[in-house]
């Protein structure tokens, strides 16, 4: 108890710094995954992608990041075990942040794909189960989280399969694809705008101090979606097409229309990523702040301190701005045959899945969901070649991340505990 009283502010500052670094790492590391398909299909330039990512990652983190944050903060661990030893929970959360941050750094340096969500969840389970006691972990919730890592890519895959096939039916396999594209693409924009704004309104705006009723929420979401679709339609109408009798030129024009849609889905993806992944950095920080703030009382009802979500948002944006360029530069022209009409299906499916999952408070892996969505488009015979070897490597690295994150956090936990006792 004395530890918290004496060193409380030091611990909070330390946690804030580590949390900020972690958010920074997430911004630098995941931007390629969240924005890569848009840049790869040439719907966006790197500069545009970074700008969109900065605005929408922050918006997602700030407006819709609250639910997942509280899951990371108190869903994985059964807090009742820590009532008499709150300082251990503070140490643990700081170790978890350190562990995940260090692992992220190592993996980025080695060029391994890792999931930030997996590393933080693994780290929290690690210090709590081994450092304190196996009973402190809320295994039921952990099972749910791990289960969601398998289920959400599947859902995103099925969803992207359906979206892609619908685009084929409505647009590509018709007499006049361009006409059909102009007609139907705004509907996809509406769908994207509707799902995103609905989840945000329903789940995210509580802590910003906006509460809307159910009907009001739907009306607002529909309103936002209509605005998005109209703006998209205006942009589409301003495109200039090289009209020609040649069918091949026709498809090129159709892809131009989809490129406009892809800008919107890229915004959605950035928003979704911000809403879900900011929690990995600031969930533990929020736990530390609330414990120290209430003098060691582990309040289950404590509200999120006002400065925490923006801190995470800024961290992500700073990582994006400073390192995002370098990561994005590696995406260049390596992708052949990834056209906006394919990219949009994968991105829209992944973004919607992530946002809906964020709304339920599940910390899912954004990258994993996106990979699932890409495979879904592949199954619909929409992608020329998918390297299953790479998919396998990615999956292996995700699995490895859990024990590594756990081991690192146990190590840091014992170190910090030793330093303070």
């Amino acid at each position: 108890m004395d530890i918290l009283a004496n060193y409380g502010s030091t611990l909070v500052i330390f946690a804030a710094i580590v949390g900020f670094i972690m958010a920074w790492g997430i911004g630098a590391n995941d931007v390629a995954n969240a924005m890569g398909t848009s840049v790869g299909s040439k719907a966006l330039t790197i500069k545009q992608a970074i700008l969109i990512a900065m605005v929408f990652e922050f918006a997602g983190a700030y407006l819709a990041g609250g639910e997942v944050t509280s899951t990371i903060r108190k869903g994985i661990i059964d807090a009742s075990f820590y009532v008499d030893i709150p300082e251990q929970l503070v140490f643990g959360m700081i170790s978890a942040l350190l562990a995940a941050g260090v692992w992220l750094l190592i993996a980025s340096y080695m060029g391994w794909p890792v999931s930030t969500t997996h590393s933080i969840v693994g780290a929290i389970i690690g210090f709590s189960a081994i450092g304190v006691s196996v009973d402190t972990v809320n295994w039921g919730a952990v099972l749910g989280i791990v289960g969601s890592w398998i289920v959400t890519p599947l859902i995103a895959g099925v969803f992207s399969f359906i979206i892609f096939n619908s685009a084929q039916k409505l647009i590509f396999d018709t007499d006049n694809p361009l006409q059909q594209a102009k007609k139907w693409v705004p509907l996809y924009m509406f769908l994207a705008g509707f799902i995103l704004s609905l989840v945000t309104i329903k789940k995210g705006l509580k802590h910003v101090g906006l509460e809307l009723g159910a009907v009001e929420g739907y009306l607002w979401a529909i309103g936002v979606a209509i605005v998005v679709a109209i703006v998209g339609k205006i942009f589409i109408s301003r495109l200039n097409f090289k009209e020609s009798k040649n069918r091949r030129a026709n498809y090129i024009n159709v892809e131009k229309v989809f490129a406009v849609l892809m800008v919107i889905t890229a915004c959605c993806m950035a928003f979704a990523h911000g809403s879900n992944d900011v929690a990995n950095a600031i969930g533990p920080l929020a736990a530390v702040v609330s414990i120290v703030g209430s003098d060691g009382e582990i309040a289950s009802k404590a509200a999120l301190a006002w400065w925490i979500l923006p801190l995470g948002g800024f961290g992500i944006v700073a990582g994006l701005a400073l390192f995002g360029h370098r990561v994005m530069a590696t995406i260049g022209t390596g992708i052949t045959h990834l056209t906006p009409s394919r990219g949009f299906a994968a991105e829209l499916a992944a973004a919607c899945t992530v946002v809906v999952a964020s709304g339920t408070g599940l910390p899912i892996s954004t990258t994993q969901t996106l990979v699932g969505a890409v495979l879904g488009v592949g199954m619909a015979r929409g992608i020329a070649a998918i390297n299953l070897g790479v998919v396998r490597n990615i999956v292996v690295s995700w699995v490895v991340t859990l024990p590594v994150g756990a081991a690192l956090s146990i190590m840091f936990f014992w170190m910090i505990k030793g330093a303070f006792s």
Partner: protein, 225 residues
């Protein structure tokens, strides 16, 4: 491609290289008429130059073929069967090989097509080259086939092209029969060994159209999944 991003998942597409390959093959075969003109005029220097060009293009096509094969290790997931892609590229490559054989044989033996047959023979060669062009046109559709997810109208269109290709091949068969008959009518006044080789050349030129048709057939199999 950086390892820590999802983009490594997108492998190199074999479809564009397939198009490049057939383009190269078509270019190679398209040199035959000018080669034949040079031999008719007994301009063997010019014929030698064109033969060298044919051989160069054949080598380039070979290199492209190997590239496609090496870019398709196991574990690449595609909308079409991997075996179909490899079969198709082998089939395409045979056209270039056959072209090289024809030019090599004619040049090596300094064969000259008899004046009585020359216009008919040239028309026959042109028709066989039409078959190759048609096969190439069908392969060029792979881009749009991918765009439409290998379904629907675009597939029907390619099917039509392949039917057209079969009709061209029928033409060449008929022309080959007449050519042989006409050669038989004049063969007793010629050097018997040359006659044997002429029969062989006529057959090989016909093979060009056959091979082109087989490219179409492979493409059809590829689409019929």
């Amino acid at each position: 491609m950086s390892g820590n991003s999802i983009l490594g998942v997108f492998a190199k597409s074999p479809l564009k290289p397939l198009e490049l390959h057939i383009r190269k093959v078509n270019e190679c075969a398209a040199l035959l008429p000018s080669f034949l003109v040079a031999t008719e005029q007994s301009d063997w220097d010019e014929a030698s130059n064109i033969r060298t060009n044919i051989s160069t293009l054949e080598k380039e096509a070979d290199a492209l073929k190997r590239e496609i094969r090496s870019d398709l290790p196991g574990g690449i997931f595609m909308p079409v069967e991997r075996t179909d892609v490899l079969e198709l590229v082998s089939q395409q490559d045979k056209i270039a090989n056959k072209t090289k054989d024809i030019a090599g044989r004619i040049f090596g033996r300094q064969l000259v097509i008899p004046a009585a047959l020359s216009s008919e023979f040239n028309a026959y060669v042109e028709r066989c080259l039409d078959a190759i062009k048609q096969a190439a046109e069908a392969i060029y559709e792979l881009d749009d086939l991918l765009e439409t997810g290998f379904r629907g109208r675009e597939v029907d269109l390619v099917e039509k092209m392949i039917v057209e290709l079969a009709l061209i091949e029928d033409d060449t068969d008929r022309m080959q029969i007449t050519l042989r008959r006409n050669l038989m009518a004049i063969e007793k006044d010629m050097n018997p060994v040359d006659v044997m080789f002429l029969y062989q050349i006529i057959e090989w030129v016909g093979d060009l159209a056959d091979l082109a048709e087989r490219v179409g057939a492979r493409l059809e199999i590829m689409l019929a999944r």
